[in-house]
């Protein structure tokens, strides 16, 4: 029983008291020697039960405490986002941008019914001309003349709605239209025989006014329709195709204009190749020519101004006649200190270079899209021409339309900017929604969700109030909130970990813990099966 069949030579005496006699041949046989197996005393049912409880309690801790803790601590927090709403905004389903422009007619010299008839026929003529429904000119009689009547017979929206333009009808000797330069007022002169009779459905005066208005707002209409066509609005809403030339000049317009910001930083620099001039009368020039313009922009953006003079500054391109394709190299970016890292606002650079070179074709100034402008001038005692060029360049860099009087251009800019911001914020909503779905392992903190709700709220307000400064203000808030939500600082980090990494992290920790746990269960199951076999 104790000796194996392969080792018959071993005598009982050799293993008798548990130790092997170490003879010469002993090592050869020692391997096969097994001490007599002594059975442990049978376990009591209590101890079996106790051991079972011990194992179960360990597993219970692992399953009910360890696992939830691990799950909780490694889970990525993802705030719930209104994805459907966000996609609705991005796809243009949530908002139909409409720009109702109120144009009020002052016709004190006309009879009440005449004025109303004129209004109706002009509105008809306008509606016939207009083929872009989002941009809509609505005429009304100015309140002092007639308080509560509009074209459609609906009550007026009240005096809180801004009037885009006032038309003053004045009797005169010939028919002509004069746009006042400093306020949004159009003077229309008419001859007495042009007053439409109440029976006729159209009149010369009505058509004349309609055409004038249409011409005045054509550029703005083109800008807005271009913006909408480049966004992801549903195709049936996007306006008719633009004439290629118009589309081209609008593409240039978007290329040129700087992205909207609440504050811009203007830097005026004087670069001179020698030691003179070392000073310029920039303070007075800015006060004289720049400040009034900037002030008129104050409802759209704010500006900060800095100036600098740099001596011994050489341009990147030399020669008396500069070629057009060399001009982008004229700014010596490596050596001229034009770093924009002042404050948090984008910088617009305006540079006067002292010299007498000129561009092929005779120009001495040029505009660099989204960057600023350059003027070459040999005599800097008079800064007026340079400042005038800079103001023109600033207008186009900020995206203002090219025609019309200054107030009208600014009001157009307000509308175009609100449309642009509205579309941009909506686009950001869509990007964020798509990213959330595409990157399931990125965390989304609560601040992002809050930002999105703020954005949507203000987008709604902006969409309802498009066309006025309030719409712009709401669009700005929406855009800022959307940017903040998208660029949330904590939504970053490595999101991809290969499986090898996960194993490498967990194995040293879980291996030593898991082995006794699993082995304990296995042994217990084995013992249980053995007991069952025995008892059967």
């Amino acid at each position: 029983m104790s000796s194996t069949p392969t080792a018959p030579a071993i005598s009982e005496a050799e293993v008798k008291d548990g130790k092997i006699e170490r003879g010469e041949d002993a090592p050869a046989h020692a391997v096969s020697v097994a001490p007599k197996k002594k059975e442990p005393p049978p376990e009591t049912p209590e101890s079996i039960r106790l051991r079972l409880f011990v194992i179960l309690s360990f597993w219970a801790i692992v399953l009910f405490l360890g696992l939830p803790i691990w799950w909780r601590t490694t889970a990525i927090y993802r705030a719930k986002l209104p994805l459907d709403q966000m996609m609705d905004w991005a796809d243009g389903r949530a908002c139909r941008p409409v720009f109702p422009l109120r144009i009020s007619i002052e016709a004190d010299s006309l009879q009440d019914h005449e004025a109303q008839h004129l209004l109706r026929t002009t509105q008809h003529a306008l509606d016939d001309l207009n083929d872009f429904s989002a941009h809509h000119l609505r005429l009304q009689l100015s309140p002092p003349a007639n308080a509560s009547i509009t074209v459609d017979g609906l009550p007026t929206g009240g005096s809180d709605e801004e009037v885009a333009l006032v038309i003053r009808l004045l009797p005169g000797t010939e028919s002509k239209a004069d746009l006042q330069s400093y306020s949004p007022i159009l003077d229309v002169h008419y001859t007495p025989n042009q007053i439409p009779s109440s029976s006729s459905s159209s009149s010369f005066l009505a058509t004349y006014i309609a055409n004038t208005l249409r011409e005045m707002f054509a550029e703005e209409q083109a800008m807005i329709s271009y913006l909408l066509s480049t966004s992801s609005a549903p195709p049936e809403r996007s306006p008719k195709a633009l004439v290629p030339e118009v589309a081209e000049s609008l593409a240039k317009w978007t290329t040129r204009s700087i992205k909207y910001s609440r504050t811009y930083h203007l830097t005026f620099s004087l670069f001179t190749p020698s030691a003179t001039p070392s000073s310029w009368d920039i303070e007075a020039a800015l006060e004289e020519h720049m400040k009034p313009l900037l002030q008129s922009f104050s409802s759209i953006s704010n500006f900060t101004i800095d100036t600098q003079v740099q001596l011994y500054a050489n341009p990147g391109v030399n020669g008396n006649v500069l070629k057009k394709e060399d001009l982008s190299g004229f700014i010596n970016a490596a050596e001229w200190p034009l770093s924009p890292s002042i404050g948090g606002a984008p910088t617009v650079n305006f540079i006067i270079y002292v010299g007498d070179m000129e561009v092929e074709g005779g120009g001495k100034s040029w505009l660099i899209p989204q960057w600023g402008g350059v003027v070459i001038q040999s005599d800097i005692s008079d800064l007026r021409p340079a400042m005038l060029i800079f103001s023109n360049q600033l207008m186009s860099l900020l995206g203002a339309p090219e025609s019309g009087s200054l107030p009208l251009r600014l009001m157009t800019l307000v509308r175009v900017r609100s449309a642009g911001l509205l579309l941009k914020a909506s686009g950001t909503m869509g990007s964020l929604a798509r990213l959330t779905l595409a990157l399931p392992s990125i965390s989304i903190p609560k601040s992002v969700a809050d930002g999105i709700y703020t954005t949507i709220e203000h987008l709604r307000k902006a969409c309802d109030g498009l066309g006025g400064t309030e719409g712009l203000e709401n669009a700005i808030i929406a855009e800022e909130a959307a940017e903040k939500a998208f660029f949330e600082k904590s939504m970053v980090g490595q999101v991809y970990f290969p499986d090898e990494h996960k194993i490498a992290v967990y194995l040293p920790l879980l291996g030593p813990v898991a082995v006794p746990l699993v082995m304990g269960v296995l042994k217990e199951v084995k013992a249980w099966r053995k007991r069952r076999r025995v008892s059967r």
């Binding site: 330069s181 054509a218 550029e219 008719k240 195709a241 633009l242 004439v243 290629p244 030339e245 118009v246 589309a247 000049s249 593409a251 290329t255 992205k259 009034p292 900037l294 002030q295 704010n302 900060t304 057009k324 394709e325 060399d326 982008s328 970016a333 490596a334 050596e335 034009l338 770093s339 924009p340 890292s341 404050g343 948090g344 561009v359 074709g361 120009g363 100034s365 040029w366 505009l367 899209p369 989204q370 960057w371 021409p385 005038l388 060029i389 023109n392 090219e402 025609s403 200054l406 950001t428 990213l435 595409a438 998208f486 660029f487 949330e488 600082k489 904590s490 970053v492 490595q494 999101v495």
Partner: protein, 392 residues
């Protein structure tokens, strides 16, 4: 005045014409140049990046639009026999460090997290503008990376690595937020081509120095510096850029650049990925080298057409308007003063003050203290228990 005159054209014609595709051009160029390895023996990686930095600067990208990441300071390394300089060639003709270099991220700031934050612009308010990638949908970006890498990863700082998946996701986030127009990704590391294999965002051209299971080799060593000074792939790229793209008006294309790669010289198989680019290989090959390595701006020269007088008149008109506006503003001011309403200065004059960044207040301050105290107390109890056990 051009646009306005076009608008008077019969608009009815337009409905017949199909909408023309808008060929958007880029308006700014940015470069992100990253070296990812520390230590003196990785001198060549730093030299790679600095040579490229010098090249893009030569071709016109301003410092404010170059993000340079250097994880170590070879110029001031005590082992450097030429203190304060970095050379990428044994002839030591050009000191790459020079006196006009702007390093945006240096030392331990060069981490995977910071790199991804830079690309996705998820940075705090305190981050200065010079350290941010302020690109938009009209920006072309050159991303150049070099270091030690492997299959689908690139090591950062000898401590962590960025995976091809994370890089691809970062580019996708940039694309989603319209943060680039076109992007050229270049990487010089071992098994470099695997790094761009996971990209899935459009408008990217990617090129790498070596295929999977292939090493990237250094070009030559400088015996006085004591280590290799440049990698082969980068060396031959620079060779092309220095000899063929001499001035910003160069018309060399990316096709010319990639055709110049000679595998027998580079000692590995450089790869190019075109499929993400609109127009695939053909479209990509026609792109100018200067579209990515230079700063080409489409300037608009005033009065190029020769209508000098009209233009002057416009200016005069604007000047008059401004004068009028000012008068009106003054009148308004006077009226306001007459009404004895104190006028807020900030409202009328653009303020010169720049707001300081807000410092965040930590609200969980007490909780953190408690945790710390608890941990310390626990340690003390354990230590006491230990000594008590020892003594008994």
């Amino acid at each position: 005045m051009k646009l306005a005159s076009f608008l008077r054209l019969p608009v009815l014609l337009a409905s017949v014409l199909a909408p023309i595709p808008i060929a958007a051009e880029h308006t700014s160029n940015w470069a992100v140049l990253v070296s990812t390895s520390r230590f003196w023996f990785n001198y060549r990686h730093l030299a790679n990046v600095l040579s490229l930095y010098r090249t893009v600067k030569r071709l016109g990208i301003p410092d404010s639009q170059i993000i340079l990441m250097l994880p170590d300071d070879m110029a001031c390394n005590p082992r450097n026999a030429f203190p304060g300089t970095v050379y990428s060639n044994a002839d030591r003709a050009v000191d790459l460090y020079g006196d006009n270099i702007e390093v945006d991220y240096r030392g331990y700031e060069v981490t995977v997290e910071n790199f991804i934050r830079l690309l996705t612009d998820r940075v705090g308010e305190e981050m200065p503008r010079s350290k941010r990638l302020l690109t938009d949908d009209r920006s072309n970006i050159l991303v150049y990376m070099t270091g030690h890498g492997g299959n689908e990863f690139l090591k950062f700082q000898d401590a962590e690595e960025i995976s091809a998946f994370d890089l691809a996701d970062a580019f996708e986030q940039m694309w989603e937020k319209k943060r680039y127009h076109e992007l050229l990704f270049m990487i010089d590391t071992c098994q470099a081509n695997t790094m761009y294999s996971k990209f899935y965002s459009p408008n990217i051209i990617a090129t790498g120095s070596s295929e999977i299971d292939q090493s990237s080799y250094s070009h030559h060593a400088d015996n006085d510096v004591g280590v290799a000074v440049i990698d082969r792939y980068t060396y031959y790229n620079l060779d092309f850029l220095e000899t063929q793209v001499r001035e910003p008006s160069s018309k060399m294309t990316l096709g010319d650049l990639f055709d110049s790669y000679d595998e027998s010289k580079i000692h590995s198989h450089p790869g190019v990925r075109w499929d993400l680019f609109p127009g695939d290989e053909q479209g990509g090959r026609e792109r100018l080298v200067m579209d990515f390595f230079g700063n080409v701006q489409n300037v608009e020269v005033d009065n190029a057409g020769g209508n000098d007088t009209e233009w002057r008149e416009d200016l005069l008109q604007l000047g008059k308007k401004i004068a009028e506006l000012r008068e009106r503003a003054e009148a308004q001011d006077a009226a306001v003063k007459n009404n004895t309403v104190p006028e807020s200065k900030g409202g009328t004059h653009p303020s010169r003050k720049i707001r300081a960044a807000k410092v965040e207040i930590d609200e969980t301050w007490w909780g953190k203290k408690a945790v710390g105290a608890l941990a310390l107390g626990g340690c003390a109890i354990v230590w006491l228990a230990g000594t008590y056990q020892d003594s008994t």
